[in-house]
Symmetry: C2
DNA sequence: ATTCATAATTATGGATGCAGTATCATGCAA
DNA sequence: TTGCATGATACTGCATCCATAATTATGAAT
């Protein structure tokens, strides 16, 4: 499965991978707007490459759900409907819940200290009301938890789901009061981890994600 | 997201999709053995196509986890380790559990009748000790439940996970007594669905999947 | 003026060609 | 005989080219 991790990569990533990465960034930045058509020719000129690696990159992005390939009609940036979001979030909640559950089972005191340190950072960013840095620390927190859970397949699914969610520019953390609420929830999750209570940790993480979805719903559709 | 479903497909699938489908079949049949190298040139000759659509198909399969692309070294059929299987099954259990839970919430009496009919088929195949047809009916059962749950994203993840699991040729249903046990578990799931008890249905489906993993573990590594 | 048919243009999908690198074999030296 | 170096072979990755289908533009007829 993860044969790519077993053979350490010293070689430069293939061109189509680099292109895929750059396209992801542009999609998340909404520089390529959701629903928008992707002009292959323009991109090949811009990047100074041929269409072959670009098309391969688009296949990869399509598999990730970031773009949609319409046969004979081109490639379009995925446009998420409200229904789509309502489908992805519950799944995300279940997956993240599983991560927290498993992490609670396996967490060592050293790992807990590391998590607590990240949480400290969260507290500070929240105090400073810095949504960007809070978001970044939040990512680190969830990433660390994934490592502790030790299930790379599960982590991979979550990463993909998170990519899809990132297609919507809306950011619930910018909602007034959401930072504090998110922080409180994190604190409770951390507590469950300290208690090494898998069921509780899983439940709280699950609810935390759904709480994020609810916050998102409270935002206007386009900022 | 599912813009492909909104525009009904009257057009023939692209060549790379057809190729991907044929390759999947050959991988599942272990005609292309796990760990084995995929000879692009041989396949292009065999299929009478060029390398372009073939390579695009391989990108898709790589995203599904069926093959691994090693830069400058070619493409290899994914070789699952026991650890990989232990990672995928718990995730599968959680996802299928979520499906059952959601289905229990939404199921109508008509839908229940349809499920019950499929279950009847399962009973008969089990009585006839026909593992192949049991397997097929089993697929229909889970597919039907996915439709009732009504979360296409969730369904998609499960489909992908199932593909990965199919990489191992081992089939727990062939294990002596597993057919009966699986049937019993299905019966209990059905009961929970009739009771419209989401938590119970989810729990039982979850355990059902883990039970399948345990059965698999009891099999010899390679038949 | 509007609508439909037809032609021109453009973009997608697939085939082919070529450069660079990894693998394998052969040979030389220790 | 074993280890390493060097050259030959072959395959991957990217670029270019071509055919076909879709879209748009143009013009005619109602």
């Amino acid at each position: 499965m993860n044969a790519s991790t077993s053979s350490q990569i010293l070689t430069a990533p293939a061109l189509y991978e680099q292109v895929a990465e750059r396209l992801r960034a542009r999609i998340f930045a909404h520089e390529l707007p959701p629903g928008g058509w992707i002009d292959e020719q323009a991109l090949t000129q811009e990047y100074g490459i041929s269409r072959t690696p670009l098309r391969e990159a688009l296949k990869v992005l399509a598999a990730e759900g970031l773009v949609v390939l319409k046969p004979r009609r081109g490639c379009y940036v995925t446009l998420l409907s409200e229904k789509d979001i309502d489908e992805v979030f519950p799944v995300m909640a279940v997956l993240e819940g599983k991560v927290a559950e498993e992490a609670a089972r396996r967490i060592t005191s050293a790992e807990f200290s590391r998590l607590a340190a990240i949480h400290e950072d969260l507290e500070q960013q929240a105090a400073a009301n810095n949504a960007d840095r809070f978001f970044e620390a939040n990512q680190r927190f969830h990433k660390a938890l994934q490592e502790i859970a030790g299930n790379s397949y599960l982590a991979h699914l979550i990463d993909d789901a998170r990519k899809v969610i990132k297609l919507t520019r809306r950011d619930s953390l910018r909602l007034d009061g959401r930072l504090i609420q998110s922080l409180t929830e994190h604190r409770e999750i951390l507590e469950a981890l300290q208690l090494k209570d898998p069921a509780l940790a899983g439940q709280r993480m699950h609810d935390h994600l759904l709480s994020g979805r609810a916050a998102l719903a409270r935002l206007a559709v386009s900022p």
